[in-house]
C-alpha cells in the first residue's frame, strides 16, 4: 500500500491504535478508568509475554503489575509517531520480564532499566500497518524460514532473556557466530514479514554464518 511510502511521522494506524492513544491520553491525565481500560485491552498479551519469559506465574503477575504501574506514572513518555501504544506497552512488559529473570539468575549484574524502552523497539510507520495485520500464524510462519540455530539464538535472546555472551556460553558457539545468527535471523524474519531487507547497513567487518 502506498501509505508506506509517505515516510511521514504521522500514522496510518488501525482504529484500535487511535482508540489506544485516546485511552493513553486519559491515563496521562490521571484517569483511573482509562488505566483500567488499557489493562483490560492488553492484560492477556502482557501476562502471556511475562509468563513465557519468566515461566513463573507469580513473578509474571508482579511483572505485569510493575509494567502497568510504570505506564500509569509515565504515560507521558510515550512518543507520538514512533509506533503503536500496544507495542510500547508490551515492550515495557518484555523489558521488566527480562529484568526479573536476570535478577533471578545470580550471574549478570543489571543497571536500573527505565520504563521507556530503547528507541529501536518503537516502530516507524511502515510497521504499524504490518504489525496491525499480523497474527500468530504469520509470525510462526516467518520464524519457520530461519535456520534452526538462528531461531534458537533469537528465542534464547528474546524469550529467554539471555545476553549474546550467555547464548554463546550456553550453545558453545563463538560470540561472533551468535551475533551473526541473531542478525541474519532478524533480517530473515523481516524479509518474511515485509518482503524486503531494509537498508541493511553492513558493519565493516566479516560476519560468519
Amino acid at each position: 500500500m502506498n501509505e508506506r511510502q509517505t515516510g511521514l511521522r504521522g500514522r496510518t494506524a488501525s482504529p484500535s491504535d487511535d482508540a489506544d492513544r485516546a485511552v493513553l491520553a486519559l491515563v496521562t491525565d490521571g484517569q483511573l478508568d482509562a488505566l483500567q481500560e488499557l489493562y483490560d485491552r492488553y492484560r492477556t498479551m502482557a501476562y502471556s509475554i511475562a509468563l513465557r519469559i519468566t515461566t513463573d506465574p507469580s513473578l509474571a503477575e508482579d511483572v505485569v503489575q510493575d509494567a502497568f504501574l510504570g505506564v500509569w506514572r509515565n504515560a507521558s513518555r510515550y512518543v507520538e509517531g514512533r509506533g503503536s501504544v500496544k507495542t510500547w506497552l508490551l515492550s515495557i512488559v518484555h523489558h521488566r520480564a527480562v529484568d526479573a529473570v536476570r535478577r533471578r539468575r545470580p550471574t549478570t549484574a543489571l543497571p536500573e532499566r527505565e520504563t521507556t524502552p530503547p528507541p529501536a523497539l518503537t516502530l516507524p510507520d511502515i510497521w504499524n500497518e504490518v504489525a496491525a495485520g499480523l497474527d500468530r500464524d504469520a509470525i510462526a510462519g516467518a520464524m519457520a524460514t530461519l535456520t534452526e540455530v538462528q531461531r534458537e539464538a533469537i528465542e534464547l535472546a528474546y524469550w529467554g532473556g539471555l545476553t549474546q555472551q550467555e547464548i554463546a556460553a550456553r550453545t558453545g558457539a563463538p560470540l561472533g557466530t551468535v551475533k551473526s545468527r541473531v542478525r541474519l535471523g532478524l533480517l530473515a524474519l523481516r524479509r518474511a514479514l515485509v518482503g524486503d531487507d531494509g537498508t541493511g547497513t553492513e558493519p565493516v567487518r566479516d560476519g560468519m554464518s
Binding site: L8, W72, W127, V130, A131, R136, L187
Partner: protein, 280 residues
Amino acid sequence: MSHDDVIDLASGYVLGALEPAEEAAVRDHLATCSLPHAEFEELGGVVAAMLEDVELVEPPAALRDRIMDAARADLAARASRGPATVATPVAGPEPTPAPPTAFPSAAAREVRRAARTSRLDWALRIAAVIAVVAIGAWGLGLQRQLDAANRFNQSVASVLDAAARPGAQAVILTPAEGKQGRGIAAVAADGTVTMALRDLPTQTGTQVYTAWVIVGKNAPVSVGDFTVDANGIASVTTRPEPAPPGAIIALTLEPNAGNTAPKGEIYATGVAPGAAGATG
C-alpha cells in the same frame, strides 16, 4: 563507541540481549549521534512483531484489582504531595495568537494530493494527538475531572447529552503542536457537532474561530464560526455536515468570519470515530 560498533550491536540491542555496559553505550550513542540508524528501526520492528507470537494465557482476575489499588494509591500519594504536575507539557499562556500561517494554495494542495495517495495527508500536517473515545463509562469521570468554570460545565453537559443520543459518538479535540485549545465534542447522527472548548486564545479584532469538517481528501467544509470568551471557553453547536468515520474536525483561528476555506492556523483537531466495535 564507534558508529560501526553500534551497528554491529544493533541486533543484540533490539532484542535486549546485550551486556548492560554495551546496552548503555549503544543507548548513549543513539541519543547523541546525528547519523541515521535505520537498521535499528528495521530490526526493532521485527522484534516488536515477535511479541505477537506468544501463547495466550489469561491472568488471574485478582491482578486487575491489585493494579488498580496500586494506581489509586499512587494517585492519592501524588495529590497529597502538592499540586499535580501537568503531564502534558503546556506552553506558557499566549494571549496574543501568532500571525496566522496560510494554508497551501489550492494549486499547491492539488499537486500534493496528486503526489500522495494517503488520505490522511491533510491531517499529517497537524502535529497533534488525534484521539477518539467512546463516552460510555468515562462520561461521569470526565465530567468530574473537568474545570469548574460554570459555562464550561454547562456546555460539557450539553455535549454529554448529545453524545448519549443514538448514533452519536464523542470526540476529544486536542491541541495542534505549539498550540493550546482542547475540548470534547459530540458528533450527532446527523453530523451536528456539539463542542465544549477551553484554553483557546481570545480572538482579537475581526478574528473568529471556525470549525471545519474534513472528509477524506476533500477540502475542509466550514460548519460554523464562533468566538471564545475572556476565559478561552466556547460552547458551540455547528450546522449539520456529514462526518463519516475518520472525518477530521479542525478548529482554526480565522482573520474574519465567513471564510469558506481555511486561512488561519489550526488550533485543535479531533477525528470522528469509526464504526462501533473499533475498540474491541
